[in-house]
Structure formats: structure tokens, C-alpha cells
């Protein structure tokens, strides 16, 4: 039993990183980036490509992370910002981020072909025994990285001026600009950070999945479920917690029900949670007010 909890945490770390990536952009811009999974995929493909070209592993990883950030920022500039500029409450980004995801996914398929390619194993080949359970070094690395990044983000958010400013931009973007915040730059930064998180997820899971351009959809969906279960729409950290929970439940279902249960069990959990607490499990009770009417002040 301990085994599935640990394996669950390991895969949950990946889900959590993507879930948190989605939460971060949603938190700041109220947009769900449907191309988030593709940012992760970009990191995987680039890292694989550079590593197999013979360059050092570290360089490949850095390049991968950078590509994920770049993809996310480009997505903001091209697909999100024009929509928000037209109407802050429009749903047009549903179309444009999906379109962007299609472009990125097929570009990757075009460049590298649709079949899986090799990905450097990093720590995947080392086994570590913890009591009765076994984890690969990669899995342990995953858990560690996810926890540290999440913690770092929270610390930044709560303790630094920039973090407080991010909270202000999220709560009342118009007022934030009235105190001197460049909300566009902020949104772009939020997308870049989300790209970093997604890219990290990619680099961590790459050794197990290999490099395939179609990974974005699956992991994007899991990240989304993680965000919804945890309540990351209200609070980014909740996305990470949701991810861990999702991972453990999936692996648990696999172990305790049958090996295919992880296909449907997470959805069942999601539906139940949404019925009970539409805002997710770990979001705070406080409301984030979007001062909608205040932006149309008359007289």
C-alpha cells in the first residue's frame, strides 16, 4: 500500500505541476490556457532533440525549460492578449488557445515526426528503496522538484512585493494599473512562469513517456483535472495539492480495483468533488471579487 502512495505522489507531482501552471495563468488573467500541455510537450521534445544531438544534459534541460516558457509567452501575446484587449470577459480565448495548441502540436509532429523518440534517462535508472516500496530516482526527483517549486512560488507570492502585486492584479486589475502596475507585463510573466512549471513537468516525466508530440493532450487534461479537484481556480497552490491527490487516487485505483481503473476513477472523483464543492477542495473560503461593474463607472 505504501508503494502506491509513493508512486501516486510521484505521478501526482507531474499532474500538480501542470495543474499549478494552469492555475497561475488563470489566477492572473482569468483565462484557461488550453495550450498548457503543449508547453510541457515542447520542453520534452526540445530536451530530447538537444540531448540526442550530443550536447550536455544540463544544456538540453535548460533549453527545454526555456522553450516551454517561450511557447507560453507567445501563446499569451498571440492568442490571449488580443482577446482580453477586446473584451475582458469574452470567451474567445477558448478558441484561440485551442488553436494555438493545435499549431504547436502539429508543428512538433511535423518537425520530429509522430512516433516516440528517445529521451535521456536522467535518474530513471536508479532504484531507491524506502521501507517496502521502490521508487526510481526520477520519481523522487519529481516529488522533490514539485514540492520545492510550489513552496518557492508560495513564498514569493506571500512575502515579496511582487507577489503582493500579483495578488492585487488578480483581485482588481484596473486598480492595480491605477497604482502603477503594468498588467500586460504581469500577465506575460504569469504565462512565462506557468511555462516553466509545465516544462519542468515535461523534463521530469520524459524518461518514462519518451518524446512524443501528442503528449500534450493527455497531460494537459490531467493537469486540468488536478486544478479542478484542488480548487486551483481560486488559489494556485491548490492546483499542486490537487495533483498529488489525483496521483495517489489514480495509483490507488490501479492497485486496489483493477489495472485499468485509473482511466475512469479520477473522473468519478472529480464529478463527486465538483458536486459537493464546485470550487475544489483546497481553495480558500474567501471570494476573489472581480470588480466588474466598477470598470464601467459613470458620472
Amino acid at each position: 500500500m505504501f508503494q502506491f502512495i509513493l508512486s501516486g505522489l510521484a505521478i501526482g507531482a507531474i499532474y500538480g505541476l501542470i495543474g499549478m501552471a494552469l492555475s497561475i495563468t488563470f489566477y492572473v488573467t482569468r483565462v484557461i490556457n488550453f495550450a498548457q500541455g503543449q508547453a510541457m510537450m515542447a520542453a520534452i521534445m526540445v530536451t530530447a532533440a538537444i540531448a540526442s544531438a550530443g550536447y550536455p544534459l544540463l544544456l538540453a534541460i535548460v533549453a527545454g525549460l526555456a522553450s516551454a516558457c517561450a511557447i507560453a509567452v507567445v501563446c499569451y501575446i498571440v492568442a490571449v492578449r488580443p482577446i482580453l484587449a477586446f473584451d475582458r470577459f469574452s470567451f474567445g480565448w477558448l478558441v484561440s488557445t485551442v488553436g494555438f495548441a493545435v499549431v504547436v502540436e502539429n508543428a512538433a509532429a511535423y518537425i520530429w515526426g509522430p512516433t516516440s523518440r528517445a529521451f535521456p534517462q536522467i535518474l530513471n535508472e536508479t532504484g531507491i528503496h524506502i521501507f517496502s516500496a521502490v521508487l526510481t530516482g526520477q520519481q523522487l526527483l519529481g516529488i522533490g522538484a514539485a514540492v520545492s517549486f510550489a513552496a518557492a512560488f508560495e513564498l514569493l507570492r506571500k512575502r515579496t512585493l511582487l507577489g503582493k502585486l500579483a495578488m492585487a492584479v488578480a483581485a482588481d486589475p484596473e486598480m492595480a494599473s491605477a497604482i502603477g502596475a503594468n498588467t500586460t507585463a504581469f500577465a506575460a510573466a504569469a504565462f512565462a512562469i506557468s511555462g516553466l512549471f509545465a516544462g519542468l513537468a515535461g523534463v521530469l516525466i520524459g524518461p518514462s513517456t519518451f518524446a512524443n508530440p501528442y503528449l500534450g493532450d493527455t497531460y494537459g487534461t490531467y493537469g486540468f483535472i488536478a486544478m479542478m479537484i484542488g480548487g486551483g481556480t481560486e488559489k494556485p497552490l491548490a492546483g499542486m495539492l490537487g495533483g498529488f491527490l489525483l496521483g495517489v487516487l489514480s495509483e490507488g485505483a490501479n492497485a486496489l480495483i483493477d489495472s485499468r481503473a485509473s482511466d475512469w476513477f479520477p473522473f468519478l472523483v472529480l464529478v463527486v468533488i465538483l458536486i459537493l464543492t464546485p470550487k475544489g477542495l483546497f481553495s480558500s473560503g474567501k471570494w476573489r471579487f472581480r470588480l466588474r461593474s466598477a470598470t464601467l463607472g459613470r458620472a
Binding site: 482577446i83 477586446f86 469574452s90 478558441v95 484561440s96 488553436g99 494555438f100
Partner: protein
């Protein structure tokens, strides 16, 4: 037909002509031509190759889906991502029934309609609890869950899917018509388009848009918004389910056909083509489904092009292709025009036109009896969520036929009290009586149906509809059977009749408040003062017994304020009771029989205008001296 309108036959036909632009005093000929042309196209498709058919018919099915989505997303503003789910249910039920139970292919259709309709109504009920983005997410998950169920159950044959039934052939005599399945699909599209086209030309359309853009206004006008939302959802789901039934004859019924990306693609079709238009969803569908067939390059480059085009389409044309075309043809102009002066002599009828007897069903009868208490508040206490007390132990008695003023500084609780009387807020304790009956817990729409209407301080109207159409919303609860008939409205004689009489009444109401010049202008293009008057007209058109007015003189010029006073006086002479919240005491005091002064949530004084005006406490409270 009410006798009132028949005596003005000359004027009636004139105003019918004025409103025909929108209503569609649609010359029959072009309509028939379009239908005949469409049938000819169908014949062509039915007789063409399987290749052509497979592309066009799938497009037709998705056209139905897109139209069904536009019904809830475009007209109600609820972005449901659940169409894929209803589509799946329709297709799977049909395919399973045909292959496992060998039933006649037409039998599953009514079953599908009922099942998806009921499920749709349940989802619609969900939208009442969770709003906006969360609702979209919930419907998205609904589709996700169904896809997973379809993938993993044996009855649905997992990822392989099922082959649906074969559509029965035409009898030999009709063989020249070509493949019957083509006729089925194309006719389904025609019916869906016709249904939506009819709704657009019925009085239900302004009601739907008002629910989308100004729900409090709709509720206050007597529209049972929850019921309408649930019903429209059911209709949209049934349409999607029927599309699934059609699809089962055309393609393989497997989970990949219905997953969440399909739901999303349908939304793309609607948004790119033009939301809230009849043609838009069809144009968008054509683009999305036929694109792969027309552009035949490397499959990945093709997808890249498609993705890029959809990004460009939505960022450059956020209203969609058809939406943009409509706006260009409708002659929109740039911003920054100086507002045409509403004080010009043409803006209102000088001397004040008496309120027309447009046959309000509960036109106030009888003398303005100053004794009977028609609205009463006893011991009303109210605070918002976890906030401080906004109203403390407020008592208010309004007599029938009176104009009762409510004044007090900002934050004294006047608007809150008005909202409580109107039903938008419910007090923590205390009771409200309207016409002698307790109304606590009654929704605003129910109070409206009992004769109590209200205006809002900031007029909430549908900006891209005309003033007349907005006023029509006020008549919704007065004319029976609108929702029932909406889907076939233009084909019914009673439809045309009722529309004419309703439009006439709406225009008369607008005329009586002095906005006759603006009857066919969009509210978004109309000056603030005229918006306020439109709001008032939408209230008066239903002949209410009691009107609560929340700062009606806000933003009106001196002449408009004078005119407003005349209108209200005329209303009073017809026995209408009014409760008016106002800051402009010069306007208010001469009108009122009684005035109540609120400060910090408590009643300071109730008395005649003169008593209140000279009272030193009031002067202190209002001036803060």
C-alpha cells in the same frame, strides 16, 4: 384581439410597417426561394458520390450541433461545452438499439429526444447554481466523463465503437431522389435553422437576450428566468441528441467522435462563424468541417494552418464572420460622436401625452383611494453577507394611488429597501405585504406578475436590441403562449397577430414616455436619458398597479426631468401607486403625497413633503450640518 387596438386601425398598420424590419413582415417570395434552392442543393448532394456525401453530411450534422450550441451560448450567454455529450448519447442509443436489439431505425429518435431533453434540463438546472466559467467547466467535464464511460464499457464496444444502422432506402418510385440519408441530414439542418430563425423573430428572442445581458431586468419584468433557461437547455440538448441519431447512419459511433475536443470544436464553429446569428454557426461549421477536405497538403501543415486560421479569425473578428458582416451592413460608426442633444424639441412630445390604454390586463381601476395600504413593510432588518446592518426595524406604509418618496443620504439603505420590496433581496427579519398579501420569499418575477414592477438606477437593457424590443420584454408575462409558439412563430397567424399588437403597444408605451423618436434605434446608440425612459416604458406597457422607481431622474436634463414629472403625474391619475427613491428633491417633493426619510438604515421621519422639507433633523441628516 383587444378592442382597444382595433379602433386605431390606421395608426396600427403604420406602426406595423415601422416594426416590420425586425419582425419580418417577411415577404414570402424570397423565403420560398431560399427553401427551394436548399432542396435543390440537397438533391444534388443526395445523388453525388459517397466521398462528397460523407463530407457534406457530417458538416450538416455539425451544423445542427452548432446551431444547438448557439441557442444556449449565443442567446442565453451560457457557454455549454456539453453538446458533445448529448451528441454521444443520441448516437450511441441509436447504434446500440439497432445492433443489439434490432429495432426499427426511427424508433430511437423520440427516445433520444426525450432522454437528451431531460438530461439537458438537468444540466440547465445546474447552471442556476454555478455561473459563468464554472458552468462551462462543469459541462466540459460532463462530456469528458461520458467519453470515458464510452471508452471503457463493453456495451459501447470501447474505443472501437459501433457501426450504426443503415438508413432504409427509398421505395423504388422515389429512387431518383438519391440517398435518403442525405435527405435526412440536410432536412435536419433545415429544420434546426428554421427553428432558430423563428425564435429570433418571436417575442421570445428579446426575452432570451435580456436573460443573457440583464437578468435582473428580465426578472423584474415578470420573466421566470430559471424556467426559461432550463427549457432552452432541454431544447438545445434534444437538438444535439437528434444530431447524434442522424450521425449514427453516417459515421462510426466511437468515443473519439464525441470527446471534449469535439465540444470545443463546436464552440469554435459558433464563435468563428458569428455567435447569436442564424447563419453564423452554419458558416463556421462549413469552415471547420470542410477545411480538411479543401486544403490538401501535408496533414500536419494542414492542421497548423487550421489552428493558425482559427486564432486569426477569433482575434481579428471577435464577433465572428457573420457578426462582422451584420455590423458593417448595419452601418456602425466610430466612437466619440457627440451625443445628439436629447433636449431638442423632437425628443419628446410637448405637453405630455397621456398614457395610452394599450389594454394592460390589470389596468388600475377605481379611484385613487388614499386609505388602503397597498405596500407595507414591517420591522424589516437587513445586512449583506457578513457585513454591518444596513436596515434596522424599518416600517413603511404606502397607500394606493399615492406617490411615496424615499430619500436619504448615500448609504442610508434606500436602494436596499427598494430591492427588498421588489424581491431581489430578502430581509433577515420583518415582512413585506403587497396588496394585502405577504410576499416574503416571492421572486421578483412573481411580484411583477402580481402588478409590482420596478426600474433600476442604472438602466439594464439589452444594448444590441432596439428600444421597442426591450420594451417587449415587459409584455412577456402578459401575452400567453409565447414560449410555446416561439419555434414556429412566423408560420402561425396568431404569431403575426400577437407580434403586431405587442409591437404597437410597445411603441405606444415609448411614445407616452416621450421616446417616440427612438423606437427603432438600438439601445447601445441611445443617450442615457432615453435609456431611462425606455426602462420606464417597459414597466408601463404592462399596466402595473405599483411601480418602484430607483433614482429615475439620474442623468436627465432639466427638461427631461420636468417631462418625467408629467409622466408620473399622469400615471398617478390612472391610479398607479409609485414609490420613488430620489436625491433631486426639487423634482420629488412636489410629486409626493408622502415622504419617508432614511438615515443609516433607520426611518427618521415619514410625512408630507412640506413637513419633511422644514424638519430640522432632516436638514441636518441630509446636509450633515
Amino acid at each position: 384581439m383587444r378592442s382597444g387596438t382595433e379602433t386605431k386601425s390606421g395608426e396600427r398598420s403604420e406602426s406595423a410597417a415601422v416594426s416590420s424590419n425586425w419582425f419580418g413582415d417577411w415577404p414570402r417570395a424570397p423565403g420560398y426561394l431560399v427553401v427551394i434552392g436548399y432542396l435543390a442543393l440537397t438533391l444534388l448532394v443526395a445523388r453525388s458520390s459517397l466521398n462528397v456525401q460523407s463530407v457534406v453530411l457530417v458538416a450538416a450534422v455539425f451544423g445542427v450541433l452548432a446551431i444547438s450550441l448557439d441557442l444556449v451560448a449565443g442567446m442565453l450567454g451560457l457557454y455549454s461545452l456539453g453538446q458533445g455529450g448529448f451528441f454521444a448519447i443520441g448516437a450511441y442509443l441509436t447504434a446500440i438499439a439497432a445492433s443489439d436489439y434490432d429495432v426499427n431505425v426511427f424508433l430511437p429518435l423520440p427516445v433520444v429526444v426525450v432522454v437528451t431533453g431531460l438530461l439537458g434540463m438537468a444540466i440547465g438546472a445546474l447552471s442556476l447554481r454555478v455561473s459563468g466559467l464554472y458552468f462551462s467547466i462543469t459541462t466540459f467535464i460532463f462530456t469528458l466523463v461520458l467519453t470515458v464511460l464510452a471508452t471503457d464499457s463493453t456495451i459501447t464496444r470501447g474505443t472501437q465503437g459501433l457501426l450504426g444502422p443503415v438508413f432504409p432506402d427509398f421505395p423504388d418510385a422515389l429512387a431518383p431522389l438519391g440517398a435518403p440519408v442525405a435527405w435526412c441530414a440536410m432536412l435536419a439542418l433545415l429544420m434546426a435553422a428554421a427553428l432558430v430563425w423563428n425564435i429570433r423573430r418571436s417575442p421570445l428572442y428579446p426575452v432570451l437576450l435580456s436573460i443573457r445581458d440583464a437578468e435582473p431586468f428580465a426578472e423584474a419584468a415578470g420573466v421566470r428566468t430559471s424556467l426559461v433557461k432550463v427549457a432552452i437547455f432541454g431544447l438545445s440538448a434534444a437538438m444535439a441528441g437528434s444530431a447524434g441519431w442522424v450521425f449514427s447512419f453516417i459515421g462510426v459511433v466511437s468515443p473519439g467522435q464525441f470527446d471534449w475536443s469535439v465540444s470545443l470544436n463546436i464552440l469554435v464553429m459558433v464563435l468563428v462563424g458569428g455567435i447569436d446569428t442564424t447563419l453564423g454557426p452554419i458558416v463556421g461549421t462549413a469552415f471547420v468541417t470542410m477545411f480538411p477536405a479543401l486544403v490538401n497538403i501535408n496533414p500536419w501543415l494542414q492542421e497548423i494552418l487550421y489552428g493558425a486560421l482559427s486564432i486569426v479569425a477569433i482575434t481579428v473578428f471577435p464577433e465572428g464572420v457573420v457578426g462582422l458582416a451584420k455590423r458593417r451592413l448595419g452601418g456602425g460608426s466610430g466612437a466619440g460622436e457627440t451625443e445628439p442633444s436629447a433636449e431638442g424639441p423632437s425628443a419628446f412630445a410637448p405637453g405630455g401625452v397621456p398614457i395610452s390604454t394599450s389594454g394592460g390586463s390589470t389596468g388600475p381601476v377605481g379611484r385613487a383611494d388614499g386609505r388602503e395600504v397597498i405596500v407595507e413593510c414591517r420591522g424589516v432588518e437587513f445586512s449583506y453577507a457578513l457585513g454591518p446592518r444596513v436596515l434596522r426595524n424599518v416600517d413603511l406604509s404606502v397607500h394606493r394611488g399615492h406617490i411615496h418618496g424615499l430619500i436619504g443620504p448615500n448609504g442610508s439603505g434606500k436602494s436596499t429597501l427598494a430591492n427588498i420590496i421588489a424581491g431581489r433581496l430578502h430581509p433577515q427579519s420583518g415582512t413585506i405585504f403587497v396588496k394585502g398579501r405577504q410576499v416574503d420569499g416571492l421572486a421578483p418575477s412573481e411580484r411583477a406578475r402580481r402588478g409590482l414592477r420596478r426600474t433600476f438606477q442604472a438602466a439594464e437593457l439589452v444594448r444590441n436590441l432596439t428600444t421597442t424590443q426591450n420594451v417587449l420584454v415587459g409584455l412577456y408575462s402578459e401575452v400567453p403562449g409565447i414560449a410555446r409558439r416561439a419555434a414556429i412563430w412566423t408560420m402561425l397567424a396568431s404569431g403575426r397577430r400577437d407580434m403586431t399588437s405587442m409591437s404597437t403597444r410597445a411603441e405606444e408605451a415609448l411614445g407616452s414616455v416621450g421616446a417616440a423618436q427612438w423606437t427603432n434605434k438600438q439601445v447601445g446608440d441611445v443617450p442615457h436619458g432615453i435609456e431611462q425612459l425606455t426602462q420606464l416604458a417597459s414597466v408601463c406597457v404592462a399596466g402595473p398597479d405599483i411601480i418602484v422607481l430607483d433614482e429615475p431622474a439620474t442623468g436627465l436634463s432639466a427638461r427631461e426631468v420636468e417631462h418625467l414629472a408629467q409622466i408620473l403625474t399622469a400615471l398617478k391619475s390612472r391610479g398607479v401607486t409609485m414609490i420613488i427613491i430620489e436625491h433631486q428633491t426639487r423634482f420629488l417633493f412636489p410629486l409626493c403625497d408622502q415622504v419617508t426619510v432614511l438615515n443609516a438604515g433607520e426611518v427618521v421621519l415619514t410625512g408630507s413633503s412640506d413637513e419633511v422639507r422644514v424638519n430640522p433633523t432632516v436638514r441636518q441628516v441630509y446636509l450633515g450640518e
